[in-house]
């Protein structure tokens, strides 16, 4: 046992039975006479249990304590409590011995809790603000993406249309190229095409281009004069010849002959609604392309036209593969020889090829040919 005050040392010695006879009788007479002295003895006993529990006694003191005090269940319980209590109070923060220390501590704790509350509110505000801003950013991005998507859709549509147009032109140019390569008496470029037996048309001669051009200019002049006198078919536009200006195909360098043919090709537009279609065909014109208006959108990929006289004499019959474009309501026939045409009335039967291979009627046209 270390550094105890004298009075406490005496009390502890008494409790352990280490006091002298005189000392013991003095202490005993004191606590029997004085309640405060007795209370000091009770406190000293508590402290002795605590000192044992905390291992603050010497070896001899511990031995005596165990012999004298740990001889009953009651003292056992007291020691168990002393051990637990010593462990508990040792882990507790000591009281501030200053007056109002506890109150100050409580206020400090409340202040800390307040600061924590403010910090939490600030954190929630920051998070909510960030979420709102992020949502705005995402909304703007979605809006921009939608705009870009719409623009891209338009561009795609335009490209698709351009591709279809190009495909159509390519098909036409291919047909013309094949036509150029075909024999003069077989102007039909399409496979399986039926050629009129009477056809004796001559292929255009490349070497006499200037002569043909001169003839054409001459005939244009005559046709204009005639169309002034003949007002029929004005609505069809067939009183004025429109020269088909062919564009150079993609592989135009390998199809030079096509350009040579162009001046000799004439496009006539036919309308089913007008039975008074008049086509003026100059005598020098060997080939024409008929443009057919449709009442409905073209849906067949392969067509056939059959031209007959009113007494059912077959003039020509050609078929071709059409590169359809969306909402297409007009068909251009392959080049047709004008050799078999004489002045007179004709019928044109347009048929489309079904998926089962049969041809069905699409439309029928009536027209008059004036050969001049």
């Amino acid at each position: 046992m270390v550094a105890r005050p004298t009075s406490e040392t005496k009390r502890i010695r008494y409790l352990l039975g280490l006091s002298s006879q005189a000392e013991r009788e003095h202490i005993e007479s004191q606590f029997f006479k004085d309640d405060d002295a007795f209370q000091e003895m009770l406190t000293a006993e508590d402290d002795l249990f605590d000192a044992y529990a905390r291992d603050d006694l010497t070896t001899e003191e511990r031995r005596i304590f165990e012999t004298k005090f740990l001889t009953s269940w009651r003292s056992r319980d007291r020691l168990r409590f002393a051990r637990a209590f010593a462990g508990t109070v040792s882990g507790v923060r000591p009281l501030d011995t200053k007056p109002l220390g506890t109150l100050v501590n409580i206020k400090a704790l409340q202040g800390w809790q307040g600061a924590l509350r403010v910090a939490m509110i600030a954190a929630v505000f920051v998070i909510v603000t960030w979420l709102v801003n992020d949502r705005r950013r995402l909304t703007n991005e979605i809006r921009t993406l939608r705009t870009e998507s719409a623009a891209l859709g338009k561009e795609t549509e335009a490209l698709r249309h351009s591709v279809d147009t190009q495909r159509t032109r390519t098909a036409e140019i291919t047909a013309q190229l094949e036509n150029l390569q075909a024999p003069p008496d077989k102007p039909r470029p399409m496979k399986g095409g039926t050629t009129a037996s009477q056809r004796t048309a001559l292929a255009p001669e490349v070497n006499n281009r200037r002569e043909v051009a001169n003839r054409r200019r001459e005939n244009e002049k005559k046709s204009r004069q005639q169309s002034i006198m003949d007002n029929e078919g004005a609505s069809l536009g067939n009183t004025s010849f429109r020269q088909q200006n062919r564009e150079l195909p993609i592989q135009g360098q390998s199809a030079v002959g096509l350009l040579t043919l162009d001046p000799d090709s004439w496009l006539q537009r036919l309308s089913r609604s007008n039975r008074g279609n008049i086509i003026t065909v100059p005598t020098f014109l060997r080939w024409i392309i008929l443009q057919l208006d449709l009442e409905t959108v073209a849906r067949h990929t392969e067509y056939r036209v059959t031209i007959k006289t009113t007494n059912a004499r077959l003039i020509t019959s050609v078929n071709w593969i059409e590169a359809l474009t969306p909402n297409q309501t007009r068909l251009d026939t392959p080049t047709i020889s004008t050799v078999d045409f004489t002045s007179g009335d004709y019928t044109l039967l347009l048929e489309g090829k079904e998926s089962n291979g049969t041809y069905v009627k699409v439309a029928e046209y009536f027209f008059k040919v004036n050969k001049s």
């Binding site: 606590f31 406190t43 044992y52 269940w73 020691l79 409590f81 508990t88 011995t97």
Partner: protein, 199 residues
Amino acid sequence: MSLPKATNKSEWVLTQEAFDRFLAELDLDRDKAGEKYEYIRLKLLKYFQWCGSHAPDIDADETINRVTRRIDEGQNVSNLHGYIYGVAKLVHAETLKRRNRSQVLDEASFINLSAKEVDSDTAPYHECLESCLENLNQEDREVITEYYKYRKTEKINCRKRLAARLGISLNTLRVKMHRQRQSLEACVEKCFTRYERTD
């Protein structure tokens, strides 16, 4: 307040009248006399415990009986506390004489408990202690914790500061802390006993 047990050896039978005369010697106020009786009995119990008695409560009751008998027989006792202490020393001496004479102490009847057998490191016991501490109001909890926290010299100084802060004497603080400790210990034992029964 109950009458002390009469011993066969004395051939004197404790009566209510004799006990009332004893209380009247302590204080004319019956309630205060009762409190003083309890405190005297506690002093006797502790005296016999600290003297190494094997039966402190029996020795304490024998002491009170003898004092009461003397008062009942008309003996004039001027210094009651000194007289009681004198009788107690006589009873203790007689007890020691009997113990030495018999030499037949039944060792098995003594509870030999080493400190190692006392295990307070059980979680339920600590939970009971924490719970009982929580039952105290905050100030009492802080004061008792402070009072029993320190060791050696620091302990004395702390208790003096604590008494000064609370504005009470050191002895009053001792009484208060001792009683509070007893209450706390009783609370923990009760809690732990209830736990052991349900376990």
